[in-house]
């Protein structure tokens, strides 16, 4: 009896949850559908769209007409480059704060976070001007630097929370067994730190890939990553639904896949550990 009601309850909650999920996911689902249609079919009624024939043309057209791969490549370089550079700078900092904490550690961490909250528009012109004078406006180098800097606080912070979870007893045990400083670092700490570093990188690649203030304002034709390239569809010519859909699907697909693996890191990284 109790089981029957709970099964019925489960069925009802399942139906409601699935309905909500499909409504939320629908825009993404719809552009996936549109991306496999001809331009003329993509503007028909929903039923007309679904019953028209399927094609891969839009994907080919997007590449041919606007050199899609170049922008895709820009996105990869900027997202991965800024993340790697950030990790390089952040690992030693987070490491020392986690293992050799001092009275100032807390203050430094809070200050780093506060720089993340600086509104980008407040420093738009200075950065723009510096970029012109350094000759890195519309360059991937410039974007890598800026995105590294805006995500650095999150990288340091996440790494710090991961490193702090490595128990100090393990170090002591290794020392008792006669491990030297180098062995300690190489064989004990590094293997334990790698999952945290990987998670941090994952989240930051996602954040950098989707960043759309600096990428829009600091690039033009040459270094534009996908965020800026897609924005060029805001003043299109002729029919473009299928092309925009194909370009969008290709731009979000890799990040969607990565994002699904990073749910936990997302909570940790974006709430700065305030919600666990």
């Amino acid at each position: 009896m109790a089981r029957a009601t709970s099964n019925r309850q489960k069925l009802i909650t399942s139906i409601i949850a699935w309905a909500a999920a499909i409504v939320i996911f629908f825009p993404i689902l719809w552009i996936i559908v549109l991306s496999f249609k001809a331009e003329g079919d993509a503007i028909r009624t929903p039923l007309g769209v679904l019953t028209s024939s399927w094609t891969l043309d839009s994907y080919a057209v997007v590449q041919d007409r606007s050199d899609y791969l170049k922008h895709f490549f820009n996105s990869v370089i900027v997202a991965v480059g800024s993340t790697l550079l950030g990790i390089l700078v952040a690992v030693p900092a987070a490491w020392s704060m986690a293992f050799v904490p001092s009275k100032r550690t807390r203050g430094i961490l809070m200050w780093m976070l506060s720089t993340k909250m600086l509104p980008a528009v407040g420093v738009l012109y200075p950065i723009y001007l510096l970029f012109i004078q350094l000759g890195i406006l519309d360059s991937r180098t410039g974007l890598v630097i800026v995105l590294m800097l805006i995500n650095l606080p999150i990288i340091v912070w996440m790494l710090y929370t991961y490193f702090r979870e490595i128990p100090a007893e393990i170090l002591e045990a290794a020392r008792m067994d006669g491990a030297g400083m180098r062995a300690e670092l190489l064989y004990v700490l590094t293997p334990m730190a790698i999952p945290g570093i990987a998670s941090t990188m994952l989240l930051n690649v996602i954040l950098a890939w989707n960043e759309a203030f600096w990428t829009l304002n600091l690039t033009a034709a040459k270094a534009a990553p996908l965020t800026a390239f897609i924005a060029s569809y805001s003043s299109p010519e002729g029919l473009f639904y299928a092309k925009l859909s194909a370009a969008s699907v290709m731009a979000i697909a890799p990040i969607l896949v990565m994002g699904w693996f990073s749910q936990k890191q997302l909570v940790r990284g974006l709430t700065f550990g305030a919600v666990k």
Binding site: K10, T13, S14, A20, A21, I24, P27, I28, W30, I31, P46, V89, A93, W95, S96, V100, S102, R106, L109, M110, M112, L113, M117, L118, P119, A120, V121, L124, Y125, P126, I127, L130, L149, L152, I206, W209, N210, A212, F213, L216, N217, T227, A228, I230, A231, Y233, S234, Y241, L244, S245, S248, I252, I255, M258, W260, Q263, L270, G273, A274, V275
Partner: protein, 288 residues
């Protein structure tokens, strides 16, 4: 325990990150402050000298200032109300036993990973276009005149687009918080005869209070600087010019750098007020 030696190594290891962030903060901030006291028009005469607080006064007394404040508040407030309320509902729903929980979760979280320019353009064209958009087709199906979403209902449309992007974030964080709730407490309440509504009000909601505060503060910081969604949909037309967008236009479009910089200083002060509250919560957690 740490020796003098390890301390100085630690300081050395921290130096690159600290120096970079210090530079990233101080150099542009100083420049913004500097420009904000100048009449500076790069395309029309360049540096025209010091003007004291004139830019600050002109920025707030210009006819577009108060509408921009209103728009900003409406976007931040609207999106917060929608995402927090729906986020609580969705988190409660996803916490229940359901078939295909993993897939449902993935579908709900997906919008957060869509880049802002894509979601702006997809909503604008494929859904809100008054001729070929999905909504227009549905409206016509029921014999209604399609709505000119982004021109006649620009603010509700924008709030809807941005809420769609941020709902997954709120849901995910609130769900994480709900799952950390001690289930024994709920079971005890259930045994004592507390109804579901009572259990929600007196146990779940108080437990969520901190997570809700964190969601509100973090989203506020991000929502205050919403940019790309407006850039690709209305470009600030139809009353959708936020403070961030207004400053962007002053600085880059009309190249009135002095005036824009004064606006930038206001934006920085505003964000700092929110940040103080957020950092206080984060800091408390650091001690625990």
């Amino acid at each position: 325990m740490a020796t003098q030696h390890s301390r100085s190594i630690a300081r050395l290891m921290m130096a690159p990150a600290v120096v970079l962030l210090l530079g990233w903060m101080l150099v542009p901030l100083t420049m913004t402050l500097f420009f904000s006291f100048k009449k500076y028009l790069p395309l029309r005469g360049g540096d025209l000298g010091w003007v004291g607080f004139e830019n600050y006064v002109r920025f707030v007394s210009s006819s577009s200032f108060w509408p921009a404040v209103g728009t900003t508040l409406l976007i931040v407030g609207g999106v917060l109300v929608i995402t927090v309320l729906l986020g609580i509902a969705l988190a409660l729903l996803l916490d229940q036993p359901i078939w295909g929980q993993g897939i449902v979760r993935i579908l709900v979280i997906a919008p957060f990973f869509v880049m802002p320019t894509v979601s702006g353009l997809v909503w604008k064209n494929m859904f809100m276009d008054p001729v070929n958009g999905f909504f227009a087709h549905i409206w016509r199906l029921f014999g209604a005149e399609p709505i000119q979403w982004l021109s006649h209902a620009s603010m509700p449309s924008l709030v809807m687009i941005i809420s769609w992007q941020w709902l997954p974030f709120a849901t995910l964080i609130l769900l994480t918080a709900i799952q950390s709730l001690d289930s024994e407490q709920l079971e005890a309440a259930e045994m004592d005869g507390a109804r579901p509504v009572g259990r929600f009000w007196f146990i779940t909601l108080p437990h969520l209070a901190r997570a809700i505060t964190v969601v509100i503060l973090i989203q506020t910081i991000f929502l205050l600087s919403i940019f790309a969604e407006i850039f690709v949909t209305t470009a600030g037309a139809f009353g959708t010019k936020t403070l961030t967008y207004l400053i962007f236009q002053r600085v880059l479009e009309s190249q009135n750098v002095g005036l824009g910089s004064a606006g930038g200083v206001y934006a920085i002060i505003l964000a700092n007020i929110v940040a103080v509250f957020l950092l206080r919560i984060v800091g408390k957690n650091l001690d625990a």
